[in-house]
Structures are given as structure tokens and as C-alpha cells.
Symmetry: C2
Subunit: 165 residues, 2 copies
DNA sequence: CTTTCTGGTTTCATTATGCTACCACATTGG
DNA sequence: CCAATGTGGTAGCATAATGAAACCAGAAAG
């Protein structure tokens, strides 16, 4: 079976179990462009109908999309982003900006702009608790409140070897 | 064959062709934790050795990792992040923060902290060109300099129907 | 009341994944 | 120097996921 990652005590792994499949992210990309109907997703992504059906159900089960009845007697519906789904815009934007920088430099297919000014938004950056931009070499990962004993053990081990990373 | 997305004139799709597979992101997560050796990646991710070998080669081919000889006579090597690979830290962080918020609320397995202060970094946000935080409803996607005729046509079509999104 | 559209499900061939075993070369210990 | 062990893979095979196409039921349109 396709390995699931959720047992790894890691939010990255947990997120990947929900959206870590290529089609899911393509569906979400379309959802952020305003697509809501099954057949529109199909046309826009090119996914096979069974795969699309499967992924839409999966995203609904995980609270990313919600199915909303539209026709009068309701076998017809739309898929809308939930707040949890909308919160993925940062992930999509991070991916898009990375792709723009390294794969399509100076030829961005799409721009994320501020609709009030028409100006592209700033590249995403990381900031410290006070809001000051922080460079990659000042970042460090360390166990949090949800760390398991296994996670803690791993950090103990690496701390003695290196200064971590 | 597994469908590739690069033909879609979209940086998200292009990025997914490079890192859009579950194992690739798990490998990158480990790389950011300081892992560099084949067997360490194997232990940490649990990926089968052939899959791991395949993905490491793929990531190297796409400029995310570079293979560095270490043993004296060099059949032994390490995989290090390139600048292009390091630039994925925003993507990983976005995924981690989303997973922390929605899947492990109040029980984050790992925290991204500023190593100088030990304080967790701020949640990623989007900002306009002047650096002011911008809310999701003010964001809009529009064709950029690399948009194909097809992309442009699609935006023309949707503009007439709705006010876009 | 027939036709078409939407939103799927089923079937089946093709690919990718995940094990396990195996292998070549290097290093280590004695 | 020689054996044992570690590293970084490949090879082969069973199983699971994917993708294409056909099929289908209910709703809407005419």
C-alpha cells in the first residue's frame, strides 16, 4: 500500500497525508481560481474522473472542501473551500513563488497581485516573533509540546553530534 | 504513466513535478534537519531503498540536492541542499505551520524557532509590495509575463462571468 | 417525454510502490 | 594481510495506485 506518513509525529508528514498528492494540489490550485464544479475541475486539471472523484471525496473528508448542494433536488453540487482549505493559500503561494523563481524566472505564468493596487505581492519570508525578517541560518527546529519520546530521543542524539541545524 | 503537470503553464504544477511526491518532501524535511547520508535518510524516512535512490537522483537532477564525494576514493557521498533546495524552506515551513494549526493544534511535534532567542517564528503571512500584511480576500491571480495564449484565454473567459477570484 | 448534462462508478490495462534479497566497494579490527 | 562489517546502491517480484474508456442514474432543458 502507499505509505502514509501520519505516524511520524511531524506536521509536515501529517499535512502530506491530506494534500501531499499531486492531484490534490492541482485541485486546490483550481479551487483558489474559483472553480467549484466537478466538470470544471475535470476540464481544468485533466485528471481522470475516477481519480478526481476520489480526491474530492478525500479533501472533503479531511475538511479542506465542503460539498454544497445546488440543484433544487440536490444531486448536483459544488465544492467550496472551507476555512481550513483557504488557509492553504500560503502553501500554494510558497510553491508558486518557488516555481516562479527557479523554473520560470522572469516569465511567471500567473502573478499573485493585490487586487486594490494591481501590484504583485511580496515574496513570502519568515519573520521572528517580533515581525523582523529572519534569515535561514538563524532558524532551528526543536521539539515542541506534541513531541513524542521518540522525537525527543532523536534530538538528544543529534545535539551531541552537531550543533543541530 | 504518472501524469506530469509541467505542460500546464503554471509554476505550482512545475514545482509539483519536482517535489510533488510524498517521499521527496519527506527527504527534504530530513535534509533541513541536517541529514546527508543515504542510510540516514533511509532510517529517518522509512522509504524503501530503491525508492529513496530514485528520489535522491531525481532531486539531484532537478538541482535541489547536490551529491558530494566524501570517502577518500569516492564511492561514498553526501547529499546536500543547493541554494535552490534551501529556498524550499518556506514551502516546508508553510506546510508545517498549516499542519500544526489544523492537525496538531496546541501539540506541535516540532517548532521552528529563532536560534538566537529560542522563540518560535511568526506564522507565515502574505504582504503587499510595501510590506503591509494583506488578507486573502484582497488577493487575485492574474496572467503574468510568461502566460500562454491558453492561459490568457481562460482568464478572459472567467472575467466575463464573474469578477474573478 | 425524449435528449442532453452533470456527477459520478465500474472495469481493465498499465505504472509505480514496497519488500526482500543480493552485490561491489571501502573501511575497520586484529 | 584477511575477515567482518558498513555504505550505497540494483534486481526481481507481489501488490497497490493510476489512467482511459465505457457505462449509468437522476435532473434539467426543450
Amino acid at each position: 500500500m502507499r505509505t502514509r506518513f501520519s505516524n511520524q509525529n511531524c506536521s509536515v508528514a501529517a499535512a502530506l497525508d491530506v494534500i501531499g498528492d499531486g492531484w490534490s494540489l492541482m485541485i486546490l490550485r483550481e479551487a483558489f481560481l474559483g472553480t467549484r464544479r466537478f466538470s470544471d475541475f475535470q476540464r481544468a486539471t485533466g485528471a481522470a474522473r475516477n481519480i478526481l472523484s476520489d480526491r474530492l471525496t478525500h479533501l472533503e473528508d479531511h475538511g479542506i472542501l465542503q460539498r454544497i448542494d445546488v440543484g433544487v433536488h440536490g444531486t448536483r453540487h459544488e465544492y467550496a473551500l472551507t476555512p481550513q482549505g483557504k488557509d492553504l493559500s500560503v502553501v500554494l503561494t510558497a510553491l508558486r513563488q518557488w516555481g516562479d523563481r527557479w523554473i520560470h524566472p522572469d516569465a511567471e505564468p500567473l502573478l499573485v497581485v493585490d487586487r486594490r493596487t494591481g501590484e504583485p505581492i511580496a515574496p513570502l519570508r519568515m519573520h521572528d516573533a517580533e515581525g523582523t525578517p529572519i534569515s535561514g541560518r538563524h532558524l532551528e527546529l526543536r521539539p515542541g509540546p506534541g513531541a513524542t519520546a521518540e522525537t525527543l530521543a532523536r534530538f538528544e542524539a543529534s545535539k551531541s553530534r552537531t550543533g543541530s541545524r
